[in-house]
């Protein structure tokens, strides 16, 4: 049974048809790499998959159910990382992650959070306002959420590797691979080539006028 599938999807943005009649499915343990040049509609597609934006026509299914009908269930099993980091700049890394976990009904100990931040090379930076961190460090704080939601079935990542150094890319890639091996599904876009040693399905979106 596909974790996420899309039937006859078409999306219009600013009166421009981005794509139409799109069909695909991602199974458990499946990795979908969405490619295309700037403006082709990758971000829009991911936002439609996440349910933040409505498509013009077509449907998105999570475990055979329309995401509009199973909103709560879908949200419980989804982790989304978009263009905006999703962290508040005035709070510290720990506070941000605690807030996010509480919001997404993830029970977690402070020690766990500190350990994960340490894994992400953020030792000593956990308690200062996130605004004082560099872009790459802020991104790593935001990506930490992928270490916490254990019962997630689907990860949607929109260009997660931007501004990350090689070490950061390694860390995230390893985490993604682990998730996939455990049966999770991932939809990802990136301008850099994926360095994941894992069978990848590719979807290329063409830029349409």
């Amino acid at each position: 049974m596909a974790v996420i599938s899309v039937i006859n999807l078409s999306v219009v943005k600013t009166d421009r048809l981005l794509f139409e009649h799109l069909n695909f499915a991602v199974e458990q343990g499946g990795l979908l790499y969405v490619k295309g040049q700037n403006g082709a509609g990758k971000t829009s597609l991911l936002r439609v998959l996440a349910g933040l934006v409505n498509a013009d026509s077509g449907k998105v299914y999570f475990s055979q159910q329309n995401i509009k009908d199973c909103r709560d269930d879908y949200h419980q099993h989804l982790v989304y990382f978009g263009h905006k980091l999703g962290i508040n700049l005035t709070l510290s890394a720990v506070e941000n992650l605690q807030y996010w976990c509480k919001q997404h009904q993830v029970v977690i100990s402070v020690d766990r959070i500190f350990n994960t931040l340490a894994q992400l090379n953020l030792v000593g930076l956990e308690d200062i306002p996130v605004a004082n961190l560099s872009a790459g460090q802020q991104r790593r704080v935001a990506l930490a959420r992928f270490w916490f939601k254990q019962n997630a079935k689907l990860w949607i990542l929109d260009e997660p590797f931007t501004a990350l150094d090689n070490q950061g890319i390694e860390l995230i890639s390893k985490q993604i691979t682990q998730f996939l091996i455990g049966g999770g599904a991932v939809v990802i876009t990136s301008h850099q080539a994926l360095r994941l040693d894992y069978p990848t399905d590719e979807l290329t979106l063409e830029y349409r006028i």
């Binding site: 219009v12 943005k13 600013t14 009166d15 421009r16 048809l17 006028i209």
Partner: protein, 252 residues
């Protein structure tokens, strides 16, 4: 019951419908408005109280009536668009808005012009004028909000929400302003001479209202066509239409 409306959710259909209806509305509208205006402004009998000055009602009343009906029409279009997610409904809403704003403005100017001989001043915070002023702000708000968005689908929904907020408030605003006015002044009520309006005065008035309505409808049809073309500019049917008209002009 509403199945006959379904094809008009497609912009292309609506475009051609507007094209078919336009000549009727524009010709008929112009004829009626000219006839009624000339009758009212030149030939209707003189009012015993206000002499010739009252004639402005042949412009003021139609514009005031139209301003309110256009806002209602706009709000209905907003409602349909929001509830049933119909793109053409939002286009209709935005085609109506500037017409409504202009008509409201005319009602304000003619109302003020009427006020000069009546009260001796160009402006009075009369209940009706104040309501019309607020109505103008409501129209301008919807238009500005729509213009502020680049994504016109988003713009339509946002403007639609504000149009709905406005329409819910419209009766409250009218009532409150009327009440406020009677509290503070009480005397300056615009006289229409309603119950005692002889037929020679009433008929041109009614015809003016009809004429204004028809002309507004004609302008709406034109604007609707424009709006559709602008929004659908990348679609094949628009491109074909543009090519056809350019080959036509080449042929002459």
């Amino acid at each position: 019951m509403w199945k006959w409306l379904h094809p008009y959710a497609k912009p292309e259909h609506t475009y051609y419908l507007c094209q078919r209806l336009l000549p009727w509305f524009s010709l008929l509208g112009l004829a009626v408005i000219l006839f009624a205006s000339v009758w009212g402004l030149a030939f209707a009998p003189t009012d015993y109280q206000q002499s010739e000055a009252y004639r402005i009602i042949y412009v003021h009343v139609p514009s005031a009536v139209l301003s309110k009906s256009l806002y209602s029409a706009m709000a209905i279009a907003a409602f349909v668009g929001l509830v049933w997610q119909v793109k053409t409904s939002f286009m209709a809403m935005m085609a109506l808005a500037p017409i409504g704003a202009t008509v409201t403005f005319v009602s304000l100017v003619t109302g003020a012009a009427w006020g000069k001989p009546m009260w001796g001043t160009w402006w009075e915070w009369d209940a009706r004028l104040t309501s019309q002023l607020i109505l103008l702000f409501l129209f301008l708000g919807v238009i500005s909000l729509y213009k502020a968005f680049e994504d016109k689908q988003q713009a339509g929904k946002a403007a639609g929400v504000m149009a709905m907020v406005g329409v819910i408030n419209l009766p409250i605003i009218h009532y409150s302003v009327q009440w406020w006015n009677t509290l503070h002044q009480g005397a300056t009520i615009m006289k229409l001479g309603k119950p005692s309006m002889p037929p020679e005065m009433l008929w041109p008035l009614l015809l003016s209202i009809l004429g204004w309505a028809l002309v507004s409808a004609a302008i709406f049809l034109l604007r609707m066509q424009n709006e559709i073309l602008q929004r659908e500019i990348r679609r094949p049917w628009v491109v074909a239409l543009a090519n056809k008209s350019s080959t036509l002009s080449e042929g002459t």
